[in-house]
């Protein structure tokens, strides 16, 4: 064996993650030097990300490799392992990270929040810790990386820490991240099963009795769900994503949420030997609620980053629905269907990483160009920022789940999975789960509505504010980042057979089956996950059909109708003094949803009186869960601490009495 052949993908992956750490540390040499940090370090970081994605692809085709790093505490080395599941998420991290890093290179402006060099450190630490989370092979290293990830992202979220709301958002994020981490830690504690062996290899070898396995699963679901934004634990997401700088929002939404999905997969399908079907049903229900909740709330948002944050909740919900379905099928021993659901889930992870990063970065460009995140102040930007607008359109189509986009493929696969649920060997489940399919379909439809709102209000129509005329398009580096992510979206949308062939390598070790052969059976053009007779999809044909219809329609209009472009005033309804502010607003567009789903919201509205000279309309839409769940907990905690505060009398004599009585009691009882 030569030295070259000994260079395994895992060595390369570790070396690349270490490169990120070095790049981050290099940012400290000249923290205020924008050219050094932005033009040198971040592009290098993007290059590293690209290489990591390539390494991940190589690892996907290789057998699992392990490595022991003698770092950390004495007698407690870091164990690392790269198998196909890790490799896939490394590809995801590298692919999305490359686009986001190159975008971030052009994103920084002087005088915004933390010094660029410091942000460079936090950002690369964040990336490296995510890579290590995906490679960790013992609970200790996993938790160290996991907490580093949480802390570095906390500092990135609060980079504008002079603004109180951002500090508050950061605090909420940190709090829930830590509560989640407790869940994960306890789950690992259950998984090691009293053996004291905290390596993942040791946990795999442990037999887990039924209830202990369920406890480990429940704790893992709680812990990873808190980080992913599962329903009752989602509150940090719509606060933290808008607070963070846009590349960071993109990174958190696109990649970090997937890290928790990765953890959930690792625990359920790898560390636990058995999966019970009812776990899947619980996750299915929770995921469905999360998806519906997310999409309904994103429909009524007026801040574009909050809208995308709620849309992230929705997508995480869909991913968890697919995951729940996979666990259910697996629990009933239906390996092929479990593989189908798992493929849909992994596919959607990749898709969401690509299109949500793209959309968040687009909002970053819009934010820089217009200094506004509020949808009510934007509009007509497609003329000023064509690059951003057209690239955003790619992301919007993907997010809406429309055929040529990549979102369609995974949602279609998911619905295919649902079509097989009547075959489940359990009376109630096979009747109720198909109902869930209807809810998934509704979520998909509503997310289309949300995306029309997002794109239409921001980019179409006419500018709502005078100042929007000065908006400028994104810079070169930002364009490169956006184009890369848009290209990923197109690739994932147009080459599903190839992607599923790769995913096959992931699902096979996890559930013992894969879709690769079935998918390839129809040729590279036609995707038929189960059987071509049942359902098949050919993205290129659909794209060709759409292009043909579009071209025909354009030709028909131009040739047959009048052959020239006329510009004229639109019909003004008999009211000639129209302004751009009279266009349909974000509030107006979301109004039907607000009406239909009224019980979901906690609304406060201020309507102006008809005689008001300067009418103001204000509506705040809040979340019931915040008032029903979080505020009571906060109040109880405050009450408890007030009780404790009675101990603090301020008199030294009283404090001495406390210790005196403690001493006496101890002497009395333990003599």
């Amino acid at each position: 064996m030569t030295a070259g052949a000994a260079w395994l993908p895992i060595d390369a992956a570790v070396a690349l993650a270490a490169c990120w750490l070095v790049l981050g540390a290099a940012g400290l040499f000249a923290p205020r030097n924008l050219a050094y940090v932005g033009r040198l370090l971040f592009p290098l970081g993007a290059l590293v990300a690209l290489l990591l994605a390539a390494t991940g692809l190589a690892a996907l085709h290789a057998s699992p490799q392990v490595m022991v790093l003698a770092l950390g505490l004495p007698d407690l080395p870091f164990h690392l392992r790269v198998d196909s599941l890790s490799a896939l998420f490394l590809v995801l991290l590298g692919g999305a990270g490359a686009g986001i890093s190159i975008y971030a290179a052009g994103y920084f402006r002087p005088g915004e929040g933390t010094a660029p060099g410091l942000q460079c450190l936090q950002y690369h630490l964040f990336l490296a810790s995510m890579a290590f989370v995906m490679m960790a092979d013992d609970a200790y290293f996993f938790m160290v990386s996991w907490e580093t990830m949480a802390l570095s992202s906390f500092f990135l979220v609060t980079s504008d820490h002079r603004i109180p709301e951002i500090r508050r958002a950061g605090y909420l994020y940190l709090l829930i991240a830590h509560i989640g981490a407790i869940g994960i830690l306890l789950s690992f504690g259950v998984l090691q099963g009293g053996s004291g062996d905290y390596t993942f290899a040791g946990m795999r070898a442990q037999p887990h009795a039924g209830w202990w396995a369920s406890a480990a699963f429940g704790l893992a679901l709680f812990g990873f769900g808190a980080k992913a934004g599962l329903l009752p634990l989602h509150v940090w997401l719509p606060e933290a994503h808008p607070a963070a700088p846009s590349p960071v929002s993109a990174m958190m939404s696109g990649v970090m949420l997937k890290a928790s999905i990765y953890g959930l997969l690792r625990v359920t399908f790898d560390l636990l030997q058995t999966q019970l079907w009812w776990w899947g049903v619980i996750v299915l229900a929770l995921g469905l609620l999360t998806a519906l909740f997310g999409v309904i709330f994103s429909a009524v948002q007026t801040d574009m980053k909050r809208l995308l944050a709620y849309s992230s909740i929705e997508n995480i919900g869909l991913i968890l629905v697919a995951y729940g379905l996979a666990v259910t099928f697996r629990g009933f021993g239906m390996a092929a269907l479990a593989a189908l659901a798992l493929t849909a889930m992994l596919y959607h992870c990749l898709n969401h990483a690509a299109f949500k990063s793209l959309l968040f970065l687009c909002t970053g460009s819009v934010l820089h160009a217009t200094r506004s995140r509020s949808l009510g102040r934007l509009g007509g930007l497609i003329h000023r920022m064509p690059w951003v607008a057209w690239l955003a359109l790619v992301g919007v189509l993907a997010s809406a789940g429309l055929p040529p986009g990549n979102g369609f493929v995974s949602e279609w696969l998911l619905l295919q999975g649902f079509l097989f649920t009547p075959g489940l060997p359990h009376g109630y489940v096979n009747m109720l789960v198909p109902v869930a399919a209807a809810a998934v379909a509704m979520t998909a439809a509503l997310s289309g509505y949300v995306m029309v709102k997002f794109f239409g209000i921001v980019f179409l129509g006419r500018p709502r504010e005078e100042s929007l005329v000065q908006a400028h398009d994104a810079g070169t580096l930002e364009r490169i980042g956006l184009t890369w992510l848009a290209a990923l979206c197109l690739l994932l949308g147009l080459a599903p057979v190839a992607v599923i062939g790769e995913l096959d390598r992931v699902t096979r070790p996890l559930v013992g089956h894969g879709l690769g052969e079935a998918a390839r059976a129809g040729g590279w053009l036609l995707l038929a996950p189960i059987d071509a007779a049942r359902a098949s999809y050919s993205p290129l044909l659909v794209l060709a059909a759409i292009a043909a219809v579009f071209a025909l329609a354009v030709m028909a209009v131009h040739r047959l109708y009048h052959r020239r472009v006329r510009r004229a005033d639109p019909w003004d309804c008999g009211f000639p003094r129209q302004t751009a502010r009279m266009q349909d607003t974000a509030e107006g567009f979301g109004q039907p949803i607000r009406q239909v789903f009224e019980p979901f919201f906690r609304m406060e509205r201020e309507l102006p009186s008809p005689f008001d000279a300067t009418p103001r309309y204000r509506v705040t839409v809040a979340d019931h869960l915040w008032h029903w769940l979080y505020l009571p907990i906060a109040r109880a905690a405050e009450f408890g601490t007030r009780l404790v505060a009675f101990l603090q009398q301020g008199r030294i004599a009283v404090y001495l009495l406390y210790s005196f009585f403690t001493l006496l009691a101890l002497l009395f009882f333990i003599r």
Binding site: A645, Q648, G650, A653, L656, L663, L664, L667, F668, R671
Partner: protein
Amino acid sequence: MTPATVSIGAQFINLLAAVLLLLSFAMLSQRRILSLIDLFAMQGAVLFVSTLVVAFTTGQVHLYYSATLTLVLKVLLLPWILHRLIRRLNVKWDVETLINIPTTMLVGIVLVIFAFNLALPISELAGTITRSTLGIALATVMLSFLMMITRRKAVPQVIGFLAMENGLFFAATSATYGMPMVVELGIALDVLVGMIILGVFFFQIREQFDSLDIRHLEQLREE
């Protein structure tokens, strides 16, 4: 060592222990700071003599060093520092208004009974000649604690703290012929350093509140 010497030695130690307890009660009820320091010095002297006697009767050589340390530190150095301190702080003639001395004394008696009750099983296990004094040593610790609780001024509280250390030292000598030398040296040094730090605090407290009455510190709690 003849049994007669041991017996006389044990009797003498019992006597000294009784004196120590008496001094503790005296400190509990003493209002004047100056007299309190004198009582503290006397307590140190009794401790010195008793350690010397234990050392002589049992032939434990290292206890001679302990005795010397006690003499230097507790009889000479600490009282001198305290005297200097109250002179510098100008509280030499301070008289403290104590709440209800009889009640405090009664509580003290209850504590002594508790301590004896507590020490009974331990002293049966201990094989030393001084074992019967363990109860008194514990009682001294508790009475000093009680003194700290009842005082309002900072200097008497510190004296209570130092007296507590005396009690612990006595307990160590009586139960096991003293702690290892290293530990003893460490504790002696701690007491000295603690005294110096507390002295600095006194000046800070007085500068802040114009008084050494620790009731002023009650403002420091969170509202």
